[in-house]
Structures are given as C-alpha cells and as structure tokens.
Symmetry: C2
Subunit: 335 residues, 2 copies
C-alpha cells in the first residue's frame, strides 16, 4: 500500500481511507487513486485490513454437511446476499464431526467476524464450545436450534411440516406411518417424530413409527436399505409412508422401484410416500415427491436480515429471537 500510495501521489492513510469507503475522499483524490489502480492492479490484503479494524466485514457461515444439497442450496442463497451487502462470507462444513465444528469455530474467532451464521451439528455438537463461541461472537443459529444459544434462531417450524403432511395424507387416504432413522443426527428429526405422534393423537389415529438402522449422513442409502428391509418383511401397517426427510424418501423410493412397489396416489398404486424438506431433487424423483417444503427464500432472507440487524445492534439483542417459518405443502405424484 505504501508503494501504491507513492505511485498514485497520495498518502497511505488516505488510500486506506479510500478502500474503506471510496466516497469518503475528495473526488479529485479518488480519481487519482482509481487511475493508479488501473495501472498497478493493487489490492489491499483483506486479512491485514481486518486485523486492526473495529468492525470487520467478515461473515462466517458454518453448516454441518455441505455435500447435502439442502445445505448447499441454502448456503448458496445466503452467500449471495452477504456478498451483495458488501460482506465477505467464509464458508465451512463441519463434515458431521464434532471436533471439526470446534476447530472451525476456533478459527473463526481469529478472523474477527462481524457475525456468524451457524447451523450446528445438533446432537453431536459440543454444547459448551458453542455456548462459549456465541458469547464471544455475534451468532445467529439456523436450521437446528440449541436451547438458548446464539442471539437468535431462524428455522422452519417442524410442527408445521408434519401437521400439513399428516393432515393431507390422512384426509385423502389411509393415515401415514412414520419412517425415520433410529439415531437421527439432527434434532429436527426428533421434533418431527413428536409432531407426528401428537398430530396422530389429535386426529384420533393410531401412530406407527418405522425405525430403521443407520447412522451418519448417507441418508439416501440408509433409506434405501431400510425400504428394502421393510418391503421384504411387508412391514407397512398402512399403505402410506411419511418419511422424516426427503433424502430418506429418495432412498426409499429407489427401494420401491427396485422391488416393483408402485408408488403414487392413483389407482393401481401400492404405496403413497410423502416427506419433508423440499429437497432440490425432490421434484425429480420417480414419482415426483410430495413434500412439505422449507421456505428457502424466506428462511435465508430472514437469517441474513437478522444477522445484519444483530451486527448493527452491536452484536447483542436484548432478548433472544426465535423465528420459525411454516412449511409449504407441495403436492406431487407420490402421495
């Protein structure tokens, strides 16, 4: 910057000021800098910039598993909004591992982020580490909430997801049984099962939960294996299966197809299958998946809006905010 300032005939502090806000210098000065900029292609070092700043423009985004299209999609939208607002988002995936999540949060501290958007692992998170982090850095949680942590939580209302699918399915055919993993990685899974149970009770229907083995993040394969097993055992109490999430459902549908189980809501079909999430691929399954979808746009919009508001408020809210968005039922051919 020293050299560049000399080359443009302006003092370094003024150049520094220019990079913080080009409008804060006199037009003639600005012009001189921008001319030099074209000749020398100098760029300030963003990490050195942030080293000594009161408020950086860094935003950390942390998700549990980036190879999941659900997170990939929501991150894509969030990242774009941050960039448009003049922030520099940094993206991290915990890869489903506790230690990795801890390391990421540790590293995030050193880039002094203005704020962090964190989708925690959930059950596997080190609660103490996250609590510690949230105290030090303005943080908005999303996707899955951890009781009392972060200044705000933005997510989808699991009850809304399940109530819509259960209501719809039981109104238009046999009541659904609930298909889920035995050890779900994500707390949302538990909320969905509970919602299913309470919803069935309200409708005075008998609940059936089909729990399949499997751990980790290979949900499709777990759903497929579970589906094959259930089909082999003919273990369906009703002809309607409600999957905890779309990735399980994708695997389950594959199993049905393999075994010749016809899925759909038309005559001649053996099974209706529905699910939750509005996964980007759910419209390309065979048949297209009836699902209760996240409002991606609203959630991501509100996540960043909340974070920006948090940053402007100096990093603290008086009271922890919790915003849940209702799901939207997308009726397709599978149920």
């Amino acid at each position: 910057m020293e050299d560049f300032a000399a080359a443009s005939g302006i003092s370094r502090p003024t150049v520094s000021k220019y990079f913080n806000d080009p409008e804060s210098v006199r037009p003639s000065t600005r012009q001189k800098i921008e001319e030099a900029l074209e000749r020398f292609a100098y760029r300030p070092n963003i990490y050195a910039m942030n080293q000594n700043r009161r408020a950086t423009k860094n935003i950390g985004i942390v998700v549990p598993y980036l190879a999941d299209p659900f997170f990939a999609e929501i991150v894509r939208v969030i990242e774009r909004r941050c960039i448009d607002a003049g922030f520099s988002p940094s993206l991290f995936s915990s890869h489903g591992e506790q230690q990795r999540e801890i390391d990421i949060l540790d590293n995030l501290r050193s880039i002094k982020p203005a704020g962090v958007l964190l989708a925690p692992l959930g059950r596997r998170s080190d609660k103490a580490a996250i609590e510690d982090f949230c105290r030090a850095v303005p943080t908005v949680l999303f996707d899955s909430s951890i009781e009392g942590m972060g200044e705000a939580f933005v997510g989808s209302d699991n009850y809304s997801f399940v109530s819509q699918t259960v209501e719809y399915l039981s109104r238009t055919g046999e009541p659904p049984c609930f298909f889920e993993m035995q050890h779900p990685a994500n707390p949302n899974a538990n909320k969905r099962r509970d919602a299913y149970l309470s919803m069935m009770q309200r409708l005075q229907l008998e609940p059936h939960v089909l729990r399949i083995a499997g751990e980790g993040w290979a949900f499709e394969e777990i759903g497929r294996q579970g589906g094959l097993k259930l089909i082999a055992e003919d273990a369906f109490p009703t002809n309607t299966v409600l999957c905890s999430n779309d990735r399980l459902a994708i695997g389950f549908l594959a199993a049905c197809y393999e075994k010749g189980v016809r899925v759909g809501r038309t005559k001649g079909c053996d099974l209706r299958v529905a699910s939750h999430d509005g996964h980007p691929f759910s419209q390309f399954t065979c048949p297209a998946l009836t699902t209760s979808a996240h409002d991606y746009a609203m959630v991501s919009e509100h996540v960043v809006e909340t974070l920006f508001r948090l940053i402007e408020s100096g990093g603290r809210f008086e009271k922890r905010e919790e915003t849940l968005f209702p799901a939207r039922l997308i009726m397709r051919d599978s149920a």
Copy 2:
C-alpha cells in the same frame, strides 16, 4: 500470545515455535505450555500467523458451483485430505459467475495460500485473470482444464467416459444418440460430444446429437424440459439415449417417468438411458442410472498429492503436468 506466554512461564518466541510444531520444543516446555493451554484456552490467530510466514498452511479450494453434488462431494474429500495433512483449506464457490471467480482469486492472494486447487468456470472464466493468478500462486487445476494454465491439471478423461458408454450401449443394443445442452457451461461437455462423434465414427455408426435449449446450472430441470419436448415430438432416432452428464439424465428420467416412458434394458422397456459422471445420486434414480463414473477417490487423491508435491517443489514444476483418470462404467438398470 504475550500474556499467554507469561502465564505459562515461557517466552513468546518459544510459544510461537510450539504452535508451529509442538515437537520442536523440549518435552518439559511442551508440557508447561499445554497445561497453560487448558487453563486459558488460548488460540493463536491463524491469519496473523500467516501474515509473516514464509510458507503458510493455507490452501484455497475454488469450485464453480457448490450446490452441484458432484462438486460438493469432491470438495468434501479434498477438504478432508488437506485437513489431515495439516493444512487449512478455505472453500469458495464462484456461483457460476465470472466476476465472482475473479473476486475470489483476488481475495485468495491476500491469504498467501501455499497452494490453490481451482476448478475454473470454464467457458465463462476470464482467461487473463486466471493466467495472472496462476503466475502468482501455485495452482493445480481440476475438473476442467484451461490450456496451459496452472502448474498441473488433474481430471477425468472424457474420451474414456464416452468410449465406454458408447461401446457398451452399441454392443448390447441399438446405438446411442447423444443428449446435451445447447450451451454447456463446462468445456468437458464439448469434449464429450466430440468423443461421442469420433467413437460413433470408429464403430461405423451414424451419430445423432439431440441438443436442448437451456443455460445455467439447473441441469436437472433443463434435462426434464428437454426430455418432455423430445418425448412429445417422439424425436428419438434410436431407443438408446446417452446423456452428457448425470444431472441432465436425472431430469430426463423424471420426464420419462412422468410420460410413462419405460426406461431400462429389460423386455418391455421403451428406452435405455445412460450417462456420465457417477453423480452421488445416480444410484437412487428410477431406474438406477447406468453411468460412466469419475474415480472420485483417485482424482481427489491425486489432486491433493499433486498440490502437496507442487508446494514442496517451491511452487513450480519444470513442466506442466496433466493427469487424466479413466472412467469406470457402472452398469445399473437404466441401460
């Protein structure tokens, strides 16, 4: 670090040395530091660390589109290997936009990465900007190559992909027609079409290329729309369709299912469909997709191996390396 060093009764430079390599200090010293570490939970600032280092441990990973499960998966593996090797990977997605790619490369310079793994946008990349970057930072390209740029390229051999599928399909049934987007974002698409044409010529078969409209990264939807159109027009010269990539195929299969076109290689089927990439979801389509798959493990292994070797060689190879891995044909039910 000053305070922490004082608290642990060790000098700051020695503490600094410890963090660079815990084994480089005397065991008794190491123990003292680690005891203090537990009491104070101090972490060095990684960006300040890298500020003044000869060689940082940063690695930049840049992909064109992270919401594509193909990239998400390969990045997942690459990231893990980098971490295991003691590096700090930073992940960036160009979102399919030229300006974003340029900005990312600009920012990457300031973290002084030891090396960068870059999957360029391809056709949309600003060649000059990338060339400039590669001259300044040790870079290994992957996925799609740009003539002469970077110290090395690691990818899959598109000819190998297509020759295997074409050979297999024409040996076991009617010769394939080739299904692709009119304006592919990725240069691999062009290579695949060329490979198809040359392969058909070699086999003395008449080639047919079905080109569908569409631009951008929503390949599934493009494939679906294209499929619906082709089905409506009954525009298939043969009963065998070879898609340029799996995401197109996923959309195409959805269209077939919607329209009651039976896909598979058994009697009673209308169409055989095969494709290329070995997309993580290709085994969950209905029917499961026959595809010529990237050797993900080999490619990602070799990408990082090449980069590590490049870093050890001081950032330059005598001669640009180019490694192409052959594809592996995965025969499933769709063809």
